[in-house]
Subunit: 194 residues, 2 copies
Amino acid sequence: MTQNQAKKISKSDRTRAHILEAARLLFAERGYDGASIRDVAAHASIDPAMVIRYFRSKDELFARAAIVDLHLPELRMIDRAAIGETLIRRFLEIWEGPASGPGMTILLRSAMSNDYAAEKLREVFASQVRPVVAAVGDPADAGRRAGLVSSQLLGLAMCRYLLRLPPVVALSHDEIIRNVGPALQRYVTEEDLS
Amino acid sequence: MTQNQAKKISKSDRTRAHILEAARLLFAERGYDGASIRDVAAHASIDPAMVIRYFRSKDELFARAAIVDLHLPELRMIDRAAIGETLIRRFLEIWEGPASGPGMTILLRSAMSNDYAAEKLREVFASQVRPVVAAVGDPADAGRRAGLVSSQLLGLAMCRYLLRLPPVVALSHDEIIRNVGPALQRYVTEEDLS
DNA sequence: TGCATTTGTCAACAGGTGTTGGCATATGAA
DNA sequence: TTCATATGCCAACACCTGTTGACAAATGCA
């Protein structure tokens, strides 16, 4: 190894990271089918064969590129009346914040036509969204409430970031918070919705 | 011609319809990329070359398959307080009603990764959704309101019919009407949302 | 009947795909 | 230096794609 074993950032690790970065960019922009291994390789300035050598297949590369952690806040810790606003603010950070990665774009863009991406997105819902909603209310209701919240937020993401529907793109952050926040609040906390 | 000219349902018209039907089915199930011309031809029990002869290219076939008419009701004619419920009921008819075609599924499934489908979907919004909302309120607000309504309804369609998120699939029609209806109502009629 | 048009099949093209194995080079330890 | 290993490129594979043109069968009018 170069230097001592502590510095494990070998050359291969760096190219591996380059490939993954290029893959995330292209999967986000064009979806699973639209981004070919040759495209990814060209973006990473490397031979297509290397992409396969580092990640055994295109599927495995996509799996690595599509890992998502939403970092949703614990809703129990905040004022119950502020849940909707909290969620929509976190939504904007995930999609437009300084630390926002293309993870959700990758998943959402491909989930409509790729079974693996769809399954991955359902997993994100089950393991990251649903539990957060379940923590602030009747757990028996959690699925429905989390599902309604997700339908609104995924729909907003779709219209604003993928479909780029002009009036939805034009919404300011404040407008989104004021308009969508209350809708989420209602889905999470409203009592009498069988 | 067979018989007289009045009967224009020639054999070619019938196979043309068969091809289009197969195309609509497969585009809806697998999206633009996932449905190959050979697949469509096999489903229509005909040679792939005929698909091209009847529709000059795959793009043109998709264009024919992706024509959508939502038949949205004129909201001016109904009670202003019932707009949300009216919209969500129409939504359920479009996606699950007896006369529901795969039109919107075709468009929505491909719009995330196909530019033409995305543009077509934006056109449906601009020509069919936005005007309906504009008819019941300040036209200056119509874009934003129609955009918010669309984000919720497209998100719901995505989660229920394409992504098949279990808790959203499990919702009954009544639950959808009671939960989503008020959210739509608010988007369309709420006054003080800059 | 003959004949022109319609309707269809077949084979092939040119290009793109994921993936593989062989070979070159560079690297770093001995 | 010497040599094993890590890293990379190249060419090719088998397959799938949309699309085309040549040819065959069916059809319907004269």
